[in-house]
Symmetry: C2
Subunit: 635 residues, 2 copies
C-alpha cells in the first residue's frame, strides 16, 4: 500500500504565478463564425467596419425634408408656405433625404394647410435633423479590437457596419475526468457508501459559463491504468484537463504518480482552504489539474486556477466578484500561512452590514446555496478579530443582500414554509437561517448577529417555554412571536417492534437510544422529562451518542442504528417511522421589540397567520397552529 | 395621410407602475425538467431534499477508522498499537465507516509498523473526522424555495440530495416583430436608403440572456393589415410581444391604431430619452410593446420595461447594474421633466473618477460599444452642473474601468492599431478615445478630462505643428509624443477624371468641394494653404459644406456628391478613391509631463516604437513613422 505526502506546498499567489508562467503563451486555434452567433466568443483579430452607418444622408426625425434656404425668415407673424414635391417631401426617421433637400423639419413643427401645402414658422439651418454619413460608424473604423469578448452591443454594432462574420478563438476545450470507484451518476441508484458525482455537472456548467467547450468523461474507477489511459486520451483531444478527484494522499490517489510519469508536475498542494490538494502538471504541452473531491474544494480550485488560466490565454481580464465591506461580530480563527475562504451570510443589522460565518466544511454543498458571500482570510493573518471589518466577495447582488433578514437558532421545518411563502408573495426580501441550538440562537441575538432567534427551550422549573431563558440572557425589551406548537415524542421503528410507550421505557436493557446535542431544546426537554420521572440517565444506552438535528436522529432510527430517539413527529414522518407523542412544546420566534417596526417582520407575521401557512404546516403532521402569530412582550 | 401626436405622456416611474399593475399577475405555465438542464430556470415550487447527504457515516479524511476507546491514553511515550481488521480499517475520504468503528485518524497521524500493525500517539474522541448523517443536507429539508433562479450551486445541491428533476416555470415566450419597409436582414444586400435590421438580433439575444424564449418574426412591411395579422398571430403564441418600430408618429406608424383596435393602450409616450415613443398595450391578456427603431432607444425600453415585467412575473428581483460615483467636469444640459440616460466613458484622472459624456444620439450604435457606463439624469433636474458628483450605471467591471486611459482629440486610424496592440500584448488597460477636433482635444486636456490629447494643428505663422497651440492653451509642462506623420492631400474620384493637381484647382468652376468642420486640423491646414496661395475661399464651391471626419469627406467623393476634399491618404484608400498628395503633417499625442511616470504611457510609447505597429501603419498607406515615439517637452 502506497502513502504519499504532498510533494511541496505552494502559496496561492505563487501557484497562480507558476500556472500563468507555464501556460500563459498557450495558443488557441481560431475560426470564422457568423456575427449573430458570436455572443460570448472572443475576437482573434480586430474587427473593422465594412461600411459606414448610415451610408447615406438619413432623416433623424419624422417630418419634411426641405431646402434650408427656403425656410429663411419664417416666423409666427410671417409663416413660410411650402409646396409638396417642389419645396418639400415627407420623410420618416431613417429615410434617405433626397437631393436637393438639405434639412429636415420635425412633423410637430409643420402645420398642414391643404393637400399639398404646409406652413412653417421657424427657419432651420442646413443639415438640420439629418444624420451625417458615418455618424454611428465609419467604414474602416475599428469596431472592436482583438481579445475582446463579443456581447449584444458588439454584435449590433458589427451587423450595422456590414460585418456578418468574424474571426474568433476556438472555445478552449476542457476535459473533465471524474475518478472514484465509489461514484455513481446522479440518475443511477445509489447504494450506501456510494457517492453521487455531482461535481462533474457543476464543473461543466461553470466552465461552459466561462466560454469553454466541455468534454465530460464517464466515471473512471480507481485504477492506475484506467486513469492513465483516460488522461492520455484527454490530453490528445483538449486544451485543459481536470482529474477529479484523487489529487490527495489517499490509498487510491493515483493522479500524482500518473502525472509524474507522463509529464512534469509543478505544484502539489496549495496553502489554500478549501482546495488544498491541488495538482498542476503539464502533459504534452497541456495543463492538467488534479483537483480534490469535496465539492467546495473542487469549485474553489476551478475559480482560483482554471478561470485565470482561461482568461489569460484568451487575453481577457480576470475579474473578481464584487466586494462589500462588512463587520464580523465574533472572532473567526484561522491558520497563519493558509489562505482560507469562508462562506458567510450577510445582513444589515442595526445599521451595520455584518458578515456571519457559516459552519465550515468543504463537503457541505448545500451551505453554498444559502451563502451570500465568501470571506477570504489572508495567509498573513491568524483569523479575524471580533468587531473587525473585512471585505467579502458577493455571491448575490448588493440589492438582494441589503434586504436580508437573518435568523439564527433552532431549525424547524415550518421555517422553510415561511421562506417559500415570502417568495410566493413576491416580497422583496429573503429570510436566511443559520441552524444552531435554541440557546446559541438567543446568544447570537444578544450579540446583535441576527434579527430573529428561533427557540423551544423548556424551563424545567416553571414548565414554561423560552421566557426564563430570554429574561436571563437578554436585558432589553423583547417580542416573542409564536411560530407553532409541535409534538415532541419518541421516534420508533415502523410498527414499534419493541413496544415503547413512554420515557420510562428508555432504560430498558434491550433498547439503544440516540440523543441530541447539549444546548438543543430537545436535549433540555429530555433532561426535564428524566428528572420529573426520576430516571437515571446513565441507565440509558446511547445517551452519550449525539446527533445535531431532528432528522439526524430520525435517520438513525430508520436505519436501525438506534431503537428510539426524542424528536418531533414531522421528522419521524419524513423518514417513514412511527412516533409515540410525549409532550407538545412551543417554538417561538424571538426578536428585539424595536424590530417590530420593520415592515419585513410585519410580513412574516402576516404569513404565519395566513391560512396558506397553516394548511402547509398541517400537512407536515405533528403541528398545532392555534397560537401561531400571537405576540407577547418580555421587558 | 394620417399624423398623430402621443396619446398622453407618462413619466418613467408611472409607466413602470402601470405595467406591473396590469400584468404583474400574469400566470406562466410550469413544466418538469431534468435538474442537470435547469441552469437559468426559475423554480415554480420549493424543492426538498429526497435523501440526506451524506446518508451514512462517512470518513471526512484519508486515514484509519478505529474504535475511539481503543485509542485512550495513547501518547508519544506510550504509543498504542492497533491491528488491522480487528482494531482498525483503512478508509479514504467519503468511505463508509463500518460498525463497530466510530472515529477516524488522519493518515498523517498514523505510523505504519509492519504489514498489519500501526502505531498512534494521540487519542481521538468518538466521531472524530466522521461526517454526520445529513451534514450537508437532511432529507425533507428545503433546498431552494419557489421563484428562485437555479444556478450551478443549486444544481449541485439538488443532485447531492437525490433531486434529479424539478418543476420550473416555462420560459416566458417573447415574440419580436420587426416592421419597416426599409429594413433588410443583416445578410441581405442593402440598397441606399435601406437599413439593416440588427435590432431584432440584439433584442433577441438580450431577452434570451434574461431567460426568455424568443420567437423572431420575419420583417413585416409598413402595411396596416400585415402588421395587424402578425400581432394577432404573436398574441396567440406568446406571453409578451414587441413590435419594433412604428411606435412613434410617422406616416407609416400603424402600431398605435392597430393596438387600439385590438385591445387597450395604457401608455403611449414616456418621458424618457432615449426611448420616448413607447407603447404599452394589452391584447387578449398579453402585454404588447411598441418600441422605437433607434437601436439605443429600443434597447433602453427593453431594459426599462420588458425586463422588470419578466422579473416580476417570474417573482425574481429586478436588479439594476452596479453603480459608481463619478464627477462630471463640464455642464451636461438636460430637459426638466424628462429622464435622460447618457452614455459616458469613465476614467480615473488625477485621483478622481470622472464621467465623460459621449455625443448624444440614440442612433449611434457603435458609441455603446465604447461606453463604460450610463449616466441617468433625473426628471427633476435641468442637467448636471460642472464638477457635480453623479451615479453612473456600469457597462464594464470596476476593475476594467479603474485602468482606463482616456484620450480626447482628433481621430487617426493608427490609434485603432494601438488599441488593438494593447490587447494583443495582454496589457492590463484599455485606451478609450472620444473623437473631437484637435483643438477641442487640447481644451479637454486642459480641463483635466483626459490623460491624452491627439492633435495635428498647423501654426500658420511658423509652419510648425501643435507647439504654439499647446503654449497658448496649456500653462504647464507638457510632453509631446509623435504618433505618425501622414500625408494630407486632395481626395479625387478614381482615375482623377477632373485632372486635379493642386490646391489652386479648387476654384475651378466645374468642381464641387466638400470641407471639414471648423476647429479640425484639416480645416486649419486648408485655410493655411489657401492663404499661402492667396486663394479666395468664397470662390470654392462647397467650402461651406462640412463633414466631421476624414472618412465622411472621402465617402462624399466616392459617392459623387463632391469632386474633391482635403484629407488623409488612408481615408481615400479605404473607400477606393485616388489621392493627390499636398503636404505631410505631424499627428502628436499630447499629455502632461507628470503623466510620463504612468506605466501605461510607457507601454503606449513602447507600442508606438515597435516594428509591429510600424508595419501595420505602413499597410494603411500615406503614413511615415520615422519620428514615431519621439518625445519632446514644452514648458
Amino acid at each position: 500500500m502506497k502513502r504519499k505526502a504532498y510533494l511541496k506546498k505552494t502559496s496561492l499567489k505563487r501557484a497562480q504565478e507558476i500556472l500563468l508562467k507555464k501556460f500563459g503563451n498557450y495558443k488557441l486555434q481560431t475560426e470564422n463564425i457568423k456575427t449573430e452567433q458570436a455572443q460570448g466568443r472572443v475576437t482573434a483579430e480586430a474587427v473593422y467596419a465594412q461600411r459606414s452607418a448610415p451610408d447615406y444622408y438619413a432623416s433623424a426625425m419624422d417630418g419634411i425634408a426641405v431646402k434650408a434656404f427656403s425656410t429663411n425668415y419664417a416666423s409666427e407673424r410671417e409663416p413660410v408656405i411650402l409646396t409638396k414635391g417642389q419645396d418639400f417631401v415627407y420623410v420618416d426617421t431613417g429615410d434617405l433625404v433626397p437631393e436637393p433637400f438639405n434639412a429636415v423639419i420635425k412633423i410637430e413643427d409643420v402645420e398642414k394647410l391643404e393637400d399639398k401645402r404646409v406652413e412653417i414658422i421657424q427657419s432651420v439651418p442646413v443639415w438640420n435633423h439629418i444624420r451625417s454619413i458615418g455618424e454611428s460608424v465609419i467604414k474602416q473604423q475599428m469596431i472592436i479590437p482583438s481579445h475582446t469578448e463579443v456581447n449584444v452591443f458588439e454584435i449590433g454594432s458589427m451587423l450595422e457596419a456590414g460585418v456578418t462574420e468574424l474571426e474568433v478563438f476556438k472555445k478552449p476545450e476542457l476535459s473533465i475526468i471524474p475518478t472514484g470507484s465509489e461514484l455513481v451518476k446522479p440518475d443511477e441508484k445509489k447504494e450506501k457508501g456510494q457517492l453521487v458525482d455531482f461535481n462533474s455537472t457543476m464543473l461543466k456548467l461553470t466552465a461552459q459559463n466561462w466560454g469553454l467547450s466541455v468534454n465530460d468523461f464517464a466515471i473512471v474507477k480507481d485504477n492506475y491504468e484506467e486513469i492513465k489511459s483516460n488522461i492520455l486520451k484527454a490530453v490528445d483531444s483538449s486544451d485543459i484537463i481536470i482529474v477529479n478527484a484523487g489529487s490527495s494522499a489517499g490509498r487510491e490517489d493515483y493522479t500524482l504518480d500518473i502525472l509524474q510519469s507522463l509529464g512534469e508536475v509543478y505544484v502539489h498542494g496549495v496553502d489554500v482552504m478549501p482546495g488544498k490538494p491541488l495538482i498542476i502538471a503539464k502533459v504534452k504541452g497541456k495543463a492538467v489539474f488534479g483537483i480534490p473531491g469535496y465539492p467546495l474544494s473542487a469549485l474553489l480550485d476551478l475559480h482560483l486556477f482554471v478561470k485565470p488560466l482561461v482568461k489569460n490565454i484568451l487575453g481577457l481580464k480576470y475579474v473578481l466578484p464584487n466586494k462589500l465591506r462588512a463587520k464580523v461580530k465574533k472572532k473567526v480563527p484561522s491558520t497563519a500561512g493558509l489562505k482560507e475562504f469562508i462562506r458567510v451570510n450577510l445582513a444589515e443589522i442595526e445599521g451595520e452590514l455584518l458578515a456571519l460565518p457559516q459552519k465550515r466544511g468543504s463537503a457541505s454543498m448545500h451551505s453554498l446555496v444559502n451563502a451570500d458571500g465568501i470571506l477570504p482570510i489572508p495567509e498573513s493573518k491568524e483569523g479575524i478579530l471580533a468587531e473587525e471589518e473585512v471585505d467579502v466577495y458577493l455571491l448575490k447582488s448588493k440589492e438582494v443582500i441589503k434586504n436580508n433578514l437573518m435568523m439564527i437558532g433552532s431549525h424547524d421545518l415550518t421555517i422553510d414554509i415561511i421562506r417559500d411563502l415570502i417568495r410566493k408573495n413576491k416580497y422583496d426580501f429573503a429570510l436566511n437561517i443559520q441552524s444552531v441550538g435554541s440557546l446559541s440562537g438567543l446568544v447570537s441575538l444578544k450579540r446583535g448577529e441576527s434579527h430573529l432567534a428561533g427557540a423551544h427551550l423548556l424551563d424545567s422549573e416553571s414548565g414554561e417555554y423560552n421566557t426564563s431563558y430570554i429574561k436571563d440572557l437578554l436585558q432589553e425589551e423583547i417580542a416573542v412571536i409564536n411560530l407553532v406548537q409541535r409534538e415532541q415524542g419518541l421516534m420508533v421503528k415502523k410498527g414499534n417492534p419493541k413496544g415503547i410507550k413512554d420515557i420510562k421505557d428508555l432504560t430498558n436493557d434491550n433498547l439503544k437510544f440516540i440523543n441530541r446535542q447539549r444546548g438543543s431544546g430537545t436535549r433540555v426537554l429530555l433532561d426535564y422529562l428524566l428528572k420529573n420521572e426520576n430516571i437515571d440517565k446513565n441507565k440509558i444506552k446511547g445517551y452519550d451518542k449525539e446527533e445535531l438535528t431532528h432528522m439526524g436522529v430520525a435517520v438513525q432510527v430508520a436505519e436501525g442504528n438506534a431503537d428510539t430517539a426524542l424528536g418531533i413527529k414531522a421528522a419521524a414522518a419524513a423518514v417513514g417511522i412511527d412516533f409515540v407523542p410525549i409532550k407538545e412544546e412551543k417554538y417561538d420566534i424571538i426578536l428585539k421589540k424595536s424590530e417590530l417596526n420593520d415592515d419585513r417582520i410585519d410580513k412574516i407575521i402576516k404569513i404565519i397567520k395566513s391560512d396558506q401557512f397553516k394548511e402547509k404546516v398541517k400537512m407536515l403532521g405533528g403541528y398545532n397552529t392555534k397560537e401561531s402569530g400571537n405576540i407577547h412582550f418580555i421587558e
